[in-house]
Subunit: 416 residues, 2 copies
């Protein structure tokens, strides 16, 4: 079946979505904000233009649907998210939503009737919101949105569950997964790579082998606050010196474990020191460790290895060290049949069908709990993402969307 | 000359001063606040009760003065500060002000006429304020309060110079030192030790040999913000990992240098990381290093040694490291004639006359720029200070004040 999408319309939709931003802080369209509501209204119109019946589900995911020709088949779903981090970019999530819309519209215009229903999904709040959790919409769909996440409050003391209701969700329906295994035949997502593998290889399209599991841990080092001037070095219980040893050890450990097995990265991105005064020895340091790997075994072993590596340096100053798992997402291998469909499509269109892991979490990672998933990556300049400089080329996004469209047609023919 | 002070009145004044606190956060009486103004009003009444003529100088130091019997002699000054850090203690500074008041009042009641004028000084804002600098009043007196310090603004955008005017100072007079060398015959200060040397030796009184010099340095490590998930370990420029290596190296270096020569302590008490998000590799980390030593040479060499020690660990991640001196106070040796007078008085009262360095800065350190200074330390429980648990025994404070009073009488007789 021959099919070509419209690259100009695809690009124009990406540019149009970017304009729904806080004017003082481009590109900012956080979930639950007025900018987000405006973008959603615009998207609903565009879903209709693409021949899709649009509605929000109980988690306020915006879903456009076109029925298939064979009754009773589960839908093929494709999509991503249109929310951004503060001062983020114009492509993370957005490219995937715009590509899904373009695929649906070009199918409709070409008179291509799928056997399966086709769903285009804009997931709610993939990025971390002021309520804490990320991937809110895809978690709700897969049943991984916990009561604690729903109860978490933003700075204005609004719980997440009320915010979801405010944007069109149905709180009472969120205690159960919105979809069960078998209710989605396959989920496919196009996303920018957020790294430089494709750029450095000169590839326009990559096929994701697996999405890393992510463990977030709260690391707390507790010592004693003392006067910075009058406490001799040997008498200190300096929590920040202890934290420094933990930060360095986590970095070295992840470096050593890389490839043994799989992809491993460990980052301390947040630290809070108390009392945080120039003339006081820190009595407490709290850090968030973001640990990611394609290997469940690495994720499980890391905290113990970190504890062993830092024990002598912490004991020297009689510091206490606590290590608490606060969120956990399992590694999500992409489904072999979808990887194969994507690889076949990529080769047919002249690409190398390079496979690579995703170090970033995506909505597809949540959906992998209930359905086979696959992802297409397109290069992003210098690997920069979550910043205004984030950039992807129109031609690469179109190439990725074209591969995804071809794989969808292939899967539509092959899946039951 | 026999003289005995009133320990109960001394203790009652310490307790009375403690009551001028933010009720929600004991013990908090920061300079420039309503609690501080109320304490100052109470102090002014007590200066009068002690036979002192009280007035504020151009830096809003509260000074009580009693004239001496020999015209033309410079005053003997004694005092400390009544402001506190947030959630601080009831003794740091306060014990010195109350002791000075008690000495003046007991001299007056005993009919002791000094040859020199006697000044009791409550210095303005010895503790760091929201305007940045510490020792504001004693710096102004000694001429070490810089235009940059005076121009620094608090969170409400009020410059320090306006705050000084608000509490009774005269901005136009602050461009010159308020006192010149020779205009103070000697300055003596009683203070809690803020360490455990006296406590562990079972001594009620210690004599300060020298006050450490303090260098505050801004250390900045600059790398690159990248996605915590998609950036492999070998491709990172993680500013927080670099900062961790700097923090650990500063600790180890100060430990190695201790006693070689003199007292050395180094503390990173403040750190700010950007963007400080769990899923972002820190692109920038800014720290304040508080470096103290009785040796000028150690203070001068430390930054270079720190740079050398951290160079390989920072180069590995291609991180930039800047090290900027933001404030500097020279080590202040206490004057030999005052140490001798204090030692003689201490021995006469049955103490060991133990000498020890001060690792904390004090108003005396600033006044040492223009006058001979001496300090008496009294023990504080467990060395705890700048916290609500700060505690000193009434008997120890009285013993320290008695030694200080006897030394004052001795110096009054001997100094020209």
């Amino acid at each position: 079946m021959m099919h070509t999408l419209n690259p100009d319309r695809l690009w124009a939709r990406i540019e149009a979505l970017a304009r729904f931003t806080r004017p003082d802080l481009p590109w900012t369209r956080r979930a639950f904000t007025p900018e987000f509501a405006a973008a959603r209204a615009w998207l609903a119109e565009n879903f209709a233009a693409a021949g899709l019946a649009a509605a929000t589900d109980a988690a306020a995911n915006l879903i456009g649907r076109r029925e298939g020709s064979v009754p009773g088949l589960a839908p093929l779903a494709v999509g991503s998210h249109c929310d951004t981090v503060p001062a983020g970019g114009r492509f993370d999530g957005i490219a995937g939503v715009a590509a899904a819309l373009e695929i649906a519209q070009s199918f409709a215009e070409a008179g291509i009737a799928l056997r399966h229903p086709l769903e285009v999904i804009d997931f709610l709040s993939e990025e971390p919101s002021d309520y804490g959790a990320s991937c809110i919409g895809s978690r709700a769909m897969a049943g991984t949105l916990t009561p604690a996440m729903l109860a978490a409050r933003n700075a204005e003391d609004e719980p997440l569950i009320a915010a979801i209701e405010r944007v069109g969700g149905i709180p009472g329906a969120l205690a159960e997964p919105l979809r069960r295994p078998g209710e989605i035949a396959a989920f496919l997502e196009l996303h920018i790579e957020q790294n430089t593998v494709l750029e450095s290889r000169g590839e326009a399209v990559g096929i994701v082998s697996a999405i890393v599991g992510i463990h977030r841990l709260r690391l707390t080092v507790t010592g004693r606050t003392d006067h910075a001037g009058s406490t001799p070095m040997h008498a200190r219980h300096d929590a920040l010196v202890g934290a420094a040893r933990v930060i360095d050890a986590a970095h070295r450990l992840a470096r050593e474990m890389t490839g043994n097995p799989g992809y491993v990265v460990a980052t301390v991105g947040r630290i809070a020191v108390s009392p945080n005064a120039a003339n006081a020895i820190p009595g407490r340091a709290e850090m968030i460790l973001d640990l990611r790997s394609t290997s469940d075994d690495v994720l499980a072993r890391f905290p113990r290895l970190l504890r062993e590596a830092t024990a002598p340096g912490l004991a020297e100053m009689d510091l206490a060290f606590a290590c608490e798992l606060i969120t956990r997402a399992r590694p999500a291998p992409c489904a072999p049949e979808i990887r194969e469909a994507l690889a076949t499509a990529a080769r047919a269109q002249g690409h190398a069908a390079l496979e690579l892991p995703s170090g970033a979490g995506h909505d597809a990672m949540q959906i992998a709990e209930i359905a086979p998933v696959g992802m297409v990556f397109v290069p992003c300049r210098g690997g920069r993402s979550h910043c205004p400089e984030e950039w992807a080329e129109a031609a690469d996004i179109a190439a990725g969307a074209q591969v995804l469209a071809a794989a969808l047609l292939d899967l539509d023919a092959r899946l039951g």
